[in-house]
């Protein structure tokens, strides 16, 4: 029993070793650090693979539609089994290609001469090989695989906001950024302590880390609402584009920081095997986005996201982002709960290895 705990603790230390770059360890600006999602995804991936055996499922006939659906949105539970895609390794090009119907799921001949599952183009030419794996012990990895899928969704949300953020040229206020990064920095300190502590201390440090992350999130949620209110107040003869762009860039910064806080909290709760708490954190994020999307502000003519949309200087590629994308973000977050409910179902994992590229 003692031995088992000891192994679990060592595993945990490994899982908590998430600050890798110099900036991540010592920096004070969260937006200058790595976005951590790849690190978290890598860690969960390793843990998941150690907790169950996977059987390579070569016969994918009858699953083409489900596989395509899972690659497009990260996972599919339309039938009895749950399919989760290695979302972070499928390029946006493949996802868009499948959505547009240019690519499809099928099989392609390997150099060795056998057929392998693959993404193909209109001329049946190979785009990418993948492997479909079936979990021997689905219940053991359900929580990991749901978190994995959630982290990849948060990574995508974060990247999309980063992208649309480049369209606004507001002023950067470093003091503001640092103030909003503070709680993350405190939490980082506790996580680093936890990664070298014994199990009792570890739990204590992780609880402290979560308190800081929670406070940081509360600050961000209220800041974003305050900025939106200022945006709504921008009217009359003194309204200026310059002022509005500054507000929009603040809103962007908040929106970029939030998934990082949320992602880390969810990750830590998953390590502590507190799925209900992880679920609650995502529920709060969902609620905040929903409020921005639905509650009318100022003169009650617009919702916050509509107002941001009205003032946003889009580039062609990002047109209508704030009107369209948050809906998809909400769906992605909502799916976490749905996934956790799939307790008795088979789990398939659509795995992509980079070396498979020809």
């Amino acid at each position: 029993m003692v031995e088992k705990n000891e192994t679990a603790r060592v595993g945990r230390c490994e899982l908590l070793d998430i600050f890798i770059e110099e900036e991540d360890k010592k920096g004070t600006d969260i937006l200058a650090m790595s976005d951590f999602f790849d690190v978290l995804i890598g860690k969960i991936d390793t843990e998941m693979n150690s907790e169950t055996e996977w059987e390579s499922h070569l016969n994918i006939e009858g699953l083409f539609g489900q596989i395509a659906a899972a690659i497009k949105s990260g996972f599919d539970i339309s039938k009895r089994e749950m399919l989760v895609a290695d979302y972070s390794h499928f390029s946006q090009e493949i996802i868009d290609g499948l959505k547009a119907g240019i690519y499809h799921v099928g099989e392609s001949m390997e150099v060795a001469g056998n057929l392998r599952p693959a993404i193909l183009d209109e001329n049946e030419q190979l785009v990418k090989f993948f492997t479909l794996k079936k979990a021997h012990n689905p219940s053991a990895i359900l929580s990991d695989i749901s978190t994995l899928s959630m982290q990849t969704s948060l990574k995508r949300i974060s990247a999309q906001i980063e992208d649309v953020g480049r369209d606004v040229k507001g002023m950067i206020d470093f003091a503001r950024r640092e103030a909003l990064s503070n709680k993350f920095i405190y939490a980082r300190d506790r996580i680093m302590s936890a990664s070298i502590a014994d199990s009792e201390e570890q739990e204590f440090f992780l609880r402290e880390a979560d308190t800081y992350l929670m406070q940081g999130l509360v600050d961000l949620y209220s800041d974003i609402n305050a900025q939106v209110k200022k945006l709504a107040d921008q009217k009359g003869p003194f309204a200026s584009i310059k002022e509005i762009d500054t507000l929009l860039s603040y809103i962007n910064e908040d929106m970029k920081m939030i998934p990082r806080y949320v992602g880390l909290r969810v990750y830590l709760f998953n390590i502590r095997q507190k799925e209900d708490d992880a679920n609650r954190i995502l529920g709060e994020y969902q609620y905040q986005l929903q409020t921005l999307m639905e509650r009318r502000i100022g003169d009650r003519k617009y919702t916050a996201l509509e107002l941001i949309h009205e003032y946003y200087p889009y580039k062609k590629e990002n047109m209508d982002f704030w009107l369209e994308r948050p809906k998809q973000m909400l769906e992605a977050i909502g799916s976490y709960k749905t996934m956790l409910d799939q307790k008795d179902n088979d789990i398939f994992y659509i795995d992509v290895e980079d070396i498979d590229d020809e």
Partner: protein, 65 residues
Amino acid sequence: MMNDETKERRCKFCGKLLISEKMPICKRCKLKARNKVGIVANMFTIFYGAKVFVGDKENGDFSAV
């Protein structure tokens, strides 16, 4: 006819989807136009203000600005 009314409307200047504007222009483009008018009005004042101040001597110099 019903279709024309419910058809999505986009800003004539930047192309974004409009929500409830009566005019086919989004809030940003509207404000940008107004800010520009403001600048032009200011320049107009400066130009004429300066012209009155400098007098006839340096007539024409302003066209280069």
